[in-house]
Symmetry: C2
Subunit: 158 residues, 2 copies
DNA sequence: CACTTTAGTAGTCATAGTGCTCACTCTAAT
DNA sequence: ATTAGAGTGAGCACTATGACTACTAAAGTG
């Protein structure tokens, strides 16, 4: 088995089974997992300790619909930046709490920023704030009209 | 308090506190949460039952680094589609397991698809498969070079 | 205003789960 | 053949859970 759960190592079939079951029911007990997966309780216990441990693959996160925190709108903002002051830029962008993710991508645009907001005006304000971040030269905003496939990971655990 | 946790309702301060603590430590016990947040055990128990309950705001999901399941590369693919056969298209795209999310967006591109893959060749294969989905007329691929700000939600729980 | 509803607190209880050991087995690698 | 790593099943003391109680406080209704 390929079980060493450290950076760069893969999850084996048992890890995936456990994580999949946990995705179904995040607060399932160890005993329940063991029983429903046909494993010994100690085994699940040990796996979980590794998965959640210091250099494990921290395995869960909150999945709050942005609407539940007053920000039902989503937008994708792409931004072109001057490479010079990159670290300062990252700091500036990080401070915008509406920013949910920021990726550096290949292609015409340098940054790919995902944002949640209360309404259209709010998105406008966020865009303005982004324009004021050090190094940002241009932005382009796309509003998310529909979640065609909501974010999913469990299909990767097979 | 604004506590009815149903669709369209907001999380109140207590819900947010609990979820934030849970984001830190997904497997924290109810007793621990109660103690560290200065609430009665029964209160946390009741809140959690609602949050995770049938019409609660299902609150956690697995957060597996795609590298841990053999797909260290990420890409954003934008696709233009013919509106006609939309439902069929969604079905086709859903069947591609490398697709992690698919959003309908405003602007020039109709779909905004996030993909994980084993390597560049794998991304190429996924792109080819997307092109073969009913209704897709054009795609454009951006490789994710760096996670400038990793996906984060907890800043919204304040 | 009195009344009802809803949420929280602090306490109890029986049941169940946890984290930990141990001795044993199985498998793959040396 | 021997060793190292993982899984098993069992047992242990300890803790957490879920469900209950009686009581309090705040908010909404007639």
């Amino acid at each position: 088995m390929t079980t060493k759960v450290t950076q760069g190592t893969l999850l084996d079939a048992t890890d995936k089974q456990i994580l999949r079951a946990l995705d179904d029911d995040p607060r399932a007990t160890i005993a329940f997992l063991a029983q429903s997966l046909g494993l010994a309780r100690g085994t699940v216990h040990a796996r979980l300790r590794k998965l959640y441990g210091p250099d494990g693959l921290a395995a869960e996160t909150i999945k709050v619909p942005p609407g539940a925190v007053g920000r039902p709108l989503r937008a994708i903002i792409t931004a072109q930046v001057e490479q010079a002051q990159f670290e300062e830029l990252v700091k500036d962008v990080s401070e915008i709490e509406e920013v949910v993710e920021c990726l550096g991508v290949s292609g015409n645009h340098d940054l790919h920023i995902e944002v949640v907001a209360a309404d259209a005006e709010d998105i406008y304000r966020v865009t303005q704030r982004l324009m004021m971040c050090r190094g940002v030269t241009r932005t382009s905003t796309m509003i998310v009209l529909r979640e065609v496939i909501p974010r999913r990971m469990s299909q990767l655990l097979r």
